[in-house]
């Protein structure tokens, strides 16, 4: 078992800050891509998240008639919270905020929280479009979640542990991403899906007038949009110990390596936006159950064979 020091609780304040910085970088990347497509300059591109934040924080929020405010607020505020909770179990080199012995399952539980949050974000405003979008997200979730669970199991089996630090240190020499490509691929795909982003942006898409965002304005909207980038950033962070050898690497320290790797994964996730047509849940469900699920089960067998 590798030595990992659990940080004192007051370091916890740094977790949201770090994650927010990472998410801001991610949002800037996505913003830059959109701006480039629209023909704007690079300066505009990089500042898109800031101008958008400024705009939304000044905007008043409008609540539709007979909205379920309580559940709506849970959904809107829950996204950033879940993202932070996802990230706290990630070891940064030899230190970790919460050294959970079941970090892999914890991550899984937090991604399941997103089922509830996206649906509630659709339910809350009492509007047809957002409710349909919330339902549609659950349809997608049913398709990606089981393959994701098996994809998460593969590294855990190979490392003989559910602890993320153990999983990271089990990859001395060869990263799990290299010899578990199916699991890694399904992980990336699911990360995009549970963030409702890129080709899986089913909960907030223009074909349903913005979906769960159809009635969301002001600070609520900011929380949902920022929460989405935070979730992407958290998923990128978790990928590092799971598949990319944790903080291992030459010259730079483990903390730096973890962040660098996370940034690369984040770039992959963020830049998936707009590159491909939407993968519709009604089409994807069959792929998830009939192609990805068997593939990840086979991957798990390979992982078990390679580990023993």
């Amino acid at each position: 078992m590798p030595e990992v020091t659990t940080l004192q609780p007051w370091w916890a304040a740094l977790a949201p800050v770090t994650l927010l910085t990472l998410a801001a970088a991610g949002a800037a990347m996505a913003g830059a891509q959109t701006a480039r497509r629209r023909g704007d300059g690079p300066l505009v591109a990089a500042t898109t998240p800031l101008t958008e934040t400024w705009r939304l924080l000044r905007q008043r929020r409008r609540v539709p008639v007979a909205a379920d405010r309580v559940l709506w607020h849970v959904a809107v505020g829950g996204l950033p919270v879940v993202a932070v909770l996802m990230a706290v179990v990630v070891p940064l080199g030899s230190v970790v905020l919460v050294d959970s012995p079941v970090g892999v399952v914890w991550f899984n539980a937090m991604d399941v929280m997103l089922w509830a949050l996206w649906w509630l974000a659709g339910w809350g405003p009492n509007s047809t479009h957002s409710l349909v979008a919330g339902h549609r997200f659950l349809g997608l979730a049913l398709a990606y979640e089981l393959p994701l669970m098996f994809a998460l199991t593969s590294p855990a089996i190979a490392a003989h542990s559910l602890r993320l630090a153990d999983v990271a240190s089990a990859q001395q020499g060869l990263w799990f991403a290299v010899w578990m490509p199916v699991a890694f691929g399904v992980y990336l795909l699911s990360a995009v899906a549970f963030s409702s982003w890129g080709p899986f942006a089913v909960a907030a898409h223009s074909d349903l007038a913005g979906g769960v965002l159809a009635e969301t304005s002001g600070v609520d909207r900011w929380l949902v949009l920022a929460g989405r980038h935070l979730v992407l950033a958290a998923a990128a962070l978790v990928a590092v110990p799971l598949f990319l050898g944790g903080g291992a690497g030459p010259v730079l320290g483990p903390v730096a390596w973890t962040l660098v790797k996370a940034l690369v994964v984040l770039a992959v996730l963020e830049l998936s936006a707009g590159r491909a047509p939407m993968i519709r849940p009604e089409r994807f469900a069959e792929v998830g159950w009939m192609v990805l699920l068997p593939a990840t089960v086979l991957q798990m067998l390979v992982a078990a064979g390679g580990a023993s």
Partner: protein
């Protein structure tokens, strides 16, 4: 200290959310109140160092309630604009029975001299659970798995509105099923 406070806050949330399940008029709120109750119990299990089981309870129950909320709305048909309605029968009997059961159980809990702890928990409880499931208690898991599998099949058979003859034709002659919306693999 912090652990104890968290525990009792969770206990309070668990019971309060449980009561809210039956007090609220909203199907969505009822489902998610139940989810909150389960999450609180999951947190309490974490206090007993049952990390794996605690997290699994949270994971499964949030997932289940996300789907349950759909069933609630599907079968009870409410939108967020709710009308208060009472869907209760035999309220008095239920109240009496529940009260008696509570008093009985609570009295038992407080009055019975519970034995002291025998043995100490393993150093790595998750690993010990895994060893038990894959070792001495393997038979239990071998029994549970087919039960779960049978449940999946049974529930699908009962719940699915279309059978394969409706999809593939009377003699199962179609290459692609006749579904309202075609699936991504074409099966």
């Amino acid at each position: 200290m912090i652990g104890t406070i968290v525990f009792w806050v969770a206990a309070l949330v668990a019971v309060a959310a449980g009561v809210e399940v039956f007090r609220t008029d909203s199907m969505a709120r009822a489902s998610y109140a139940l989810a909150a109750s389960f999450v609180a119990v999951g947190v309490m299990l974490l206090a007993f160092e049952l990390d794996y089981l605690g997290v699994i309870v949270i994971l499964m129950m949030v997932m289940e309630m996300a789907i349950m909320a759909l069933f609630m709305i599907m079968l009870m048909g409410m939108n967020p604009a709710l009308m208060p309605m009472s869907m209760v029968h035999g309220k008095r009997t239920a109240t009496v029975v529940a009260a008696v059961v509570f008093v009985g159980l609570a009295a038992a809990a407080l009055l019975i001299p519970w034995p002291d702890r025998a043995g100490a928990p393993a150093a790595d409880l998750t690993r010990s659970l895994g060893d038990a499931v894959m070792g001495s208690k393997m038979l239990v898991m071998l029994t549970v798995s087919p039960v779960l599998f049978a449940t999946i099949i049974g529930a699908l058979v009962l719940g699915h509105p279309r059978d394969r003859y409706q999809r593939y034709g009377d003699d199962l002659e179609r290459d692609h099923p006749d579904d309202p919306i075609q699936g991504g693999v074409g099966r």
